[in-house]
Amino acid sequence: MNFFYLRRKFYNILALTVSLLSAGFGIFFLFWILKDVISFGLPALNGSFFTELPAPPGAEGGGVAHAILGTFFVTVVATAIGVPSGILAGTYLSEYGRKSKTASTVRFLSDILVSAPSIVIGVFVYAVLVKPFGGFSAIAGAVALSIIMLPVIVRTAEEVLKLVPDATREAALALGAPHWKVTVQVVYRGARRGITTGVLLAVARVSGETAPLLFTSFNNSFWNFKMTEPTATLTVTIFNYALGPYEDWHTKAWGAAFLITASVLVLTVLARLLVTRRSAG
């Protein structure tokens, strides 16, 4: 009896130690990465990093200002395409489709598209937007990102719209408001914060994407303000600079890595704060 008890106790402690150690191991690596991004990245940031164009290879100085702008514009355009379409599709799922076959198919495929390999999306956009229209372009990159964003928005939009109780809808409908008005003025309003959270998370996700941009928005060593021309982005810049031979490039790649990681984390934290505030209020 006593022996069995000891054995069970031993296994308990062993198993719990193992899970504690593995948790520690995982957390250790994750924080190791974060620490390196900060300690290598932070010193790379200075005034010219944010304001200047790259200097020619081998020469010191210069910055990645054009890539910061490029990432910003490509992400904004992707958001402008992806968010409205995603919210409308989500609206269909939660307000009209609900249990219909179409709705389940859309839900199913969105969930799969969320995890589809992003590089394949890049190949797809290359085939439909880059090759036929004669050139890499910022807009092609934005479209690729919006495709990645779309299913994320669809699913979050549906999830948060669903949280609005049917009783609210019925109350508004009973007052004689048309369904679309109820959706826009009552349901959307009720789910505003949730939708904002979803959008922030989706923006965070796509702004760190590299693979779909390699064959679409490509790269540019200068400022680009035109949607039809190739543009630099922070992530593609990291890819090129990190594989480059110059120390100065590596430093800049770390700087860009820090910048993109920090922005993504800030967006994610912001999104989470919105959620907590909602559940608290």
């Binding site: 995982g26 409308l88 599709a89 307000e95 390999p117 394949v120 797809f124 085939a127 594989l243 790649a253």
Partner: protein
């Protein structure tokens, strides 16, 4: 009169709004089909030239224009399996730690931290892998592995710090936050009464986890693992930096290899010949199909895509 006109306008408004939202919902389906169709159309030259042999041939010869997907498929699958083998126990450890062991005050912050890490862009993992982890491996870990485990064929090779094993390892670090946050959520769904009844009959913590929590959540956990696998299979940046880009199938996991996504990232803008390009697109199509199947499988395991909203 005014009432009827307004009524009419409302009806039109409703129809338009419904139509527009229907359009965008169906767009998702159309997009999926369109991606398949475009990839298939662009791979036709390669499919016509190589047929099914493409899947089994290990040739990758841009001079003679002989292409086979086997090394890339092999690399994709093996690196993902390595990632899963490493990531699953660790992620479960983290999830168990967070739901069952950690003091209440720590659960929130650590859980949030891990979820935040899931949002770090994959290129950061790749870059870190190349600059920090690969030199560390080649200086400290791999020579030891080769000396002590080298008699096992999979642990042979040169201590380059880049190759199949490092790629799998970096991938595993990348998917750990992902799997652990999903499994944590799943663990939290176990009704407390079930756990308490376990403790009530005198079970230890581990026994409750093993005999109550894990059986109760088994299919959900499987789904989470396969979801992680789906991520690993399609991941590009974390792999490209450290896998070594060699179209050779080697038994030794320390040797350089390649994956579908790494091949695409390296060679896509460079493939001159239409057959070369088409073979690359076909690789993309294969990757798309593999992940599609894996993800469908995971969705079916996790289950529940029916409408459950609208209740107060």
């Amino acid at each position: 009169m005014a009432f009827f006109e307004r009524h009419k306008a409302d009806k039109i408004g409703d129809a338009v709004f419904r139509g527009v939202s229907y359009f965008f919902a169906v767009l998702v389906v159309v997009l999926m089909l369109f991606i398949f169709a475009v990839l298939f159309k662009e791979s036709l030259p390669s499919i016509r030239k190589f047929g099914l042999k493409f899947l089994t041939s290990a040739a990758w010869d841009p001079v003679q224009l002989e292409f086979g997907a086997l090394p890339a498929i092999y690399g994709t699958i093996v690196s993902s399996i390595i990632a899963i083998v490493i990531a699953v126990p660790i992620s479960l450890g983290i999830a168990i730690f967070l739901t069952e062991m950690a003091p209440k005050g720590l659960r929130g912050p650590i859980g949030t931290a891990i979820e935040l890490l899931a949002s770090i862009p994959s290129i950061i993992y790749g870059m870190w892998g190349l600059f920090v982890f690969a030199p560390f491996l080649s200086d400290h870990i791999e020579p030891w592995i080769i000396d002590h485990l080298g008699f096992i064929p999979i642990f042979n090779g040169a201590p380059l710090g880049i190759g199949m094993l490092p790629a799998g390892f970096i991938l595993s670090i990348m998917i750990i936050p992902f799997i652990s946050s999903v499994s944590r959520e799943i663990f939290q769904m176990v009704p407390p009464i079930m756990k308490e009844s376990g403790y009530g009959v005198g079970a230890t913590k581990w026994e409750v986890i093993r005999k109550v929590v894990i059986p109760y959540t088994r299919s959900g956990l499987m789904g989470a693992v396969i979801l992680g696998l789906g991520r690993a299979l399609g991941e590009t940046m974390a792999v490209t930096f450290v896998i070594g880009n060699s179209h050779e199938i080697s038994k030794a996991l320390l040797d350089p290899a390649t994956s579908i996504s790494a091949t695409l990232a390296n060679e896509f803008t460079e493939a001159v010949d239409p057959v070369y390009l088409s073979s690359l697109v076909e690789l993309g199509l294969i990757l798309f199909v593999i992940t599609f199947i894996v993800l469908v499988f995971s969705k079916l395991l996790i289950g529940g895509f029916s409408y459950k909203g609208g209740r107060p």
